[in-house]
Assembly symmetry: C2
Homo-oligomer: 435 residues x 2
């Protein structure tokens, strides 16, 4: 038996607002940041659990305070019982009735739970000597289902249905794991499409994306329609008539505005329209989906939990499910969302970028391919070429695909010197208290 002796947190912020990388219609000047934690034990095996919440700057300290409140549950606890029943561990954190009042299961407190859960998964995978995707994919259907909180899901997905989905994916798991190790998981890139870039840079980056083997790109839209038409035309000309080009409005529109704006871009045939409106607006997404059909809607990076994902699927509001590694309650809730997507027959195409989101979320798509959906057909993981150098096991992209990581863990560990060098001191802060 060993004990969790500490959870240490760090306020890590990168000064990304000094370039325009990451600028979109709602987030003009993000400082990509991580509310970061390390779980340490007295096992003497050298293993730590690392996790984080991705934020875009101010408020990273608030997120850390929340992680601290959640982490009180695990400090001093025996390691093995926690890691042996990750369903119970997650349920305990979510079930703290006093903390629950601050959500429930949404926003700062829920992301804090997710970070702690993910750090425990990182620790568990390291102790098992496997990358997280493999650890999860090799679990039995019963073990995977035990991770899921079915509360509020049973009108769409029961435990028995989830078991049936996983059992149906059992044949071929070994073969798909071999395929994954051979050819990885397809990626698409948002690098060309940030709003702050010049037309020349946009065209050049589109050419580079195709040359690098990416099979899809994405453009940010929603700030100015004329700009969007011009930029989409450039991208379409560079990439050719059939190359998938998605667009992303980052919640910019109301329902009718979304429909009108997308119709004005329809001639360029968007592969999907991402976050057309509020992530809370299930019925709004459904109305937009009807209004722009057959152009499909995608969302998820700001979807707060499985309950909202469930409804987006029930309402035929989305065609692509964009899970995020640090928005919901961690690996466990993302397994629930993978199962919901499988039930509704929808492809999971994760949101990534930010700080470490690529490193973390690839494990979930790889689980999905090997053991849940059983296919990577029509699936892509977002890739943004930012800040990977700060991670111990940075993503490896080859031929437009994520190579399956082999290093044990969840991919969530930053280099100690990066944590040290970018710990927040106020130095790169430009905004003042007066906004």
């Amino acid at each position: 038996m060993s004990t969790i002796v500490s959870v240490d947190v760090s306020d890590v912020r990168f000064p990304t607002s000094q370039s325009l990388d990451g600028s979109d219609a709602m987030n003009p000047d993000p400082d990509y940041s991580a509310a970061y934690l390390v779980v340490r034990t007295d096992a003497g095996d050298g293993h730590e659990g690392h996790g984080f919440v991705f934020t875009i700057g101010r408020g990273n300290d608030v997120q850390l305070a929340a992680i601290g409140a959640v982490a009180e549950h695990i400090v001093g606890r025996e390691v093995e019982p926690l890691l042996d029943d990750m369903g119970a561990a997650s349920a305990e954190l979510i079930g703290d009735s006093q903390l629950r009042w601050l959500g429930p299961e949404k926003g700062v407190m829920h992301m804090a739970i997710g970070a702690v859960v993910n750090a425990l998964w990182d620790l568990k995978a390291k102790r098992a000597g496997m990358p997280l995707w493999q650890l999860l994919a090799r679990m039995s259907p019963e073990e995977l289902v035990s991770l899921v909180d079915f509360r509020y899901l049973s009108d769409a997905l029961t435990r028995d249905e989830a078991l049936a989905i996983l059992r149906a994916a059992e044949p071929g798991k070994a073969e798909r794991e071999a395929q994954l190790l051979e050819s990885g998981f397809p990626a698409y890139t948002t690098t060309p499409g940030w709003l702050g870039y010049s037309d020349e840079k946009l065209a050049r980056l589109c050419r580079e994306a195709m040359a690098d083997g990416f099979t899809q790109i994405k453009l940010k839209v929603g700030a100015d329609l004329d700009d969007d038409i011009r930029r989409f035309r450039i991208a379409r000309e560079v990439c050719g008539p059939d190359f998938p080009i998605a667009i992303d409005a980052n919640q910019r529109w109301d329902v009718q505005a979304a429909i009108d704006w997308v119709q004005a871009l329809a001639e360029f045939r968007p592969h999907w329209v991402e976050e057309p409106t509020s992530p809370d607006d299930v019925l709004g997404h459904a109305a937009i989906a009807r209004g722009i059909a057959p152009i499909p809607v995608a969302t998820g990076e700001h979807v707060q939990n499985r309950v909202v994902f469930k409804q987006l699927m029930q309402a035929d509001a989305i065609s692509f499910v964009q899970i995020d590694a640090t928005r919901v309650g961690g690996v466990n809730e993302n397994v629930a969302i993978l199962l919901l997507a499988a039930k509704f027959g929808l492809p999971v195409c994760p949101h990534a970028g930010g700080v470490g989101l690529c490193e973390a979320v690839q494990h979930l798509s790889m689980l999905d391919f090997v053991a849940v959906a059983g296919t990577r057909e029509g699936r892509v993981i977002e890739f943004v070429d930012h800040l990977h150098e700060h991670f111990v096991t940075p993503t490896v992209i080859e031929g437009g695909a994520y190579r399956a990581p082999l290093t044990p863990g969840a991919g969530t560990e930053m280099l100690a010197e990066s944590v040290r060098d970018y710990t927040w001191t106020g130095a790169h802060r430009v905004a003042t208290a007066a906004g």
Copy 2:
């Protein structure tokens, strides 16, 4: 001109878990708490703005950290431009794109915005020499509409429709204000219905509620069906066949479980069924509403923002709109929700109790009566007889109705000695890190 010189925060927690007051199916041991702030200026007029977020204990410090992050926007600002355009002030706080990532518009960060907005309203009302309800009710339709953020609402409520609603309520405002001052606003009481009480205490408190003139009571349900049947039967016997008795499940059920449980209580004719399932589950509430009709559904105390309220109304999921003073983005967003309710023809029956929620939310119902819905017919404000003694202007209940407060301000100011005496020191904490 004067300047906001400081925003001071206090971590105020009352040891309510030592009794079973406030226990329900999801919250067995709440310590009613307030993440409290005071806005001070150099105007020399003696006026301060007080606001808070109600929490139930652990995490109150996280909520304070969020209030601190939001308050940076107003410290050092000139008072008059902020208070003269409260629509802009609210929009600025909600529009901080870096903080927005931590919501958006939900959970800890959104409640922090609400607390700061409410403190500014308290200051504005004190400077105007009016109770908040009167200050708001005497605004012109144009002024009231200027408070509202219509983003994500326009598919259900446009600015022009809101203006029309308010203009339709203009005739009779003075008369309704006089009626309000004369006879107050109807209240209902949850005091008899907490799960922790004995049958004898339940029966006694039901009798007392009727003797005190309350025209409705509410019982907590959802922990044990046999208990609920027994308790509802006692309440029905004490109160008689026609007295309105609502029930409140505090999010305990999945969709089918809610339908089944409520059907098992249908013989006692619940006046409404409150929070049958996740506050995020619009489609679930709608399915429950269809499944238990004609028994009506109520919800709102955990509804995170106007976007979810909008959908609950669009989906015919609720029959009663239970706004809360400190869950959403403050007075401004609650005005939006009052307008949505008026558009959909639904009565607003606020959630209250906790710490100071009665003191704060009464102003919004009184605004609703005088200037928005134009009626108090079928409306009741929850009343729980806890902790009022800690407020400078405690609610006054007479004949089962809230008397309209006359003291300038928003009702959100606690006694300085209460803040001092109940500032958190860890003393009443019983729960350990191991939960």
